[in-house]
Amino acid sequence: MAKQNMVILYGTWTIPYVKRVELTLKVKDLRNKSPMLLKLNPIHKKVPVLVHNGKAITESLVIIEYIDETWKTGPRILPQDPYKRSQIRIWASYIQQVNEAMVMVLKTIGEAQENAIKEVSEKVKLLEAGLKGLFPDGIPSVDEYSKNVTLLDLVILANLGGYEAQEGVLGVKIIDSEKTPLIVSCITALIELPAVKESWMPDEKVVAFLKFFRENALNSAAA
């Protein structure tokens, strides 16, 4: 297999930052154009790492922009208009803060957890407001998404798509159709896309992983 045109993604399914890149590659349907492997045992220290033509790229948002700029045929992950691009970039990078806040909820108990829940709820509220601004006519349908998904959609899906499993583990609703209807609509529609469905982890697996993650975090905090 020639080194040229080979795209390798290093990562594990449990890390949303890896998932973002995996989803991007699937949506761009690069499997038919160049051999793609998702390796489960990363050899680089940090994941995700994308290796293309022997050159490595890290940082999920940087990788996604690289993919979009390199494979220009097929769906564009970022729109042409510079202003629209800027809005998508702003909200996509905001999701990192939401994610960090969410992880704090998983890692804490008692009062610390209550505070963490308050914080992530505020952030999620802001994100919902941001989506309202970006989608004044409502979230696209599955059909519309099948023609065009953006960087922001993929990032929301990868980072927040497991919200139901998370609710199962924590017993608390942070994202739900009452508080954050747009985020929920977005995720619900995106999960139906064939490119997404085929690699989507079943809830039981996600629940098992989150439980393990939380136990680990609480044990090392207590130690």
């Binding site: 700029e69 510079p82 202003y83 990078s93």
Partner: protein, 223 residues
């Protein structure tokens, strides 16, 4: 009436990145000073309701926040004197170092927010990151962008003017010509570019301002 407005605060290096980009591309703009510490204007709150921070770029009435996002917008809207290379892999590298600068800012500024033993530790941590930046980011190049100044150079522009002031106030030497020869040489080259040096703030005003900031940080740390 200028179509381009920059909302900024004169001591902020984030704001200068935007100003430098506009100057390097020869784009006319109107600058509006915001008192972010004490009295944010209605205009700022309207244009950046989420984070209420500067810089904000307003172009034809549309606001864009987050300096990294603003720089990408400027690059896409005014392509003359490009600040990013054409090759997707080189672009990915530039963006990687920009993200590195953002992610490591706590480590890099730590020396300024601490004193005593904590400061010794923080200074070492910052220097470790600067070592990585010098060896892997800059390497043997004239600028982070290669032979010409680029977006990554603007990200680290604070090293060329702010670091010196902050070091003096905090009483530590973070970089010097012997310990970081390449970064030091880059600083001289960077400051020599007229679009860069022309808008730089007055050094004595900076000393006064940042002395106040350090006092605030240290007081907060004690409380």
């Amino acid at each position: 009436m200028s179509q381009v407005t920059v909302l900024g605060a004169w001591p902020s290096p984030y704001v200068y990145r935007v100003i430098w980009a506009l100057k390097l591309k020869g784009v006319d703009y109107e600058y509006v000073e915001e008192d972010v510490l004490h009295n944010k204007s209605d205009r700022l709150l309207k244009y950046n309701p989420v984070h209420k921070k500067v810089p904000v770029l307003v172009h034809a009435g549309k606001p864009i926040a987050e300096s990294a996002v603003i720089l990408e917008y400027i690059e896409e809207t005014w392509p003359q004197n490009p600040l990013l290379p054409k090759d997707p892999h080189q672009r990915a590298l530039a963006r990687f170092w920009i993200k590195f600068g953002e992610d490591k800012s706590a480590a890099l500024f730590g020396f300024f927010m601490t004193e005593g033993e904590q400061q010794e530790k923080a200074t070492k941590e910052g220097q470790e990151q600067l070592r990585i930046l010098e060896e892997q980011g800059l390497g043997e190049k004239m600028f982070f962008g290669g032979d010409e100044i680029g977006m990554a150079d603007l990200e680290f522009g604070w090293l060329a003017w702010w670091l010196d002031v902050m070091s003096e106030i905090a009483g530590v030497k973070v970089i010097d010509a012997e310990s970081f020869p390449r970064l030091h040489a880059w600083i001289q080259r960077f400051k020599d570019i007229s679009a860069i040096k022309e808008p730089l703030p007055d050094r004595s005003a900076m000393l006064t301002y940042f002395k106040g900031r350090r006092a605030t940080f240290l007081a907060l740390a004690k409380s």
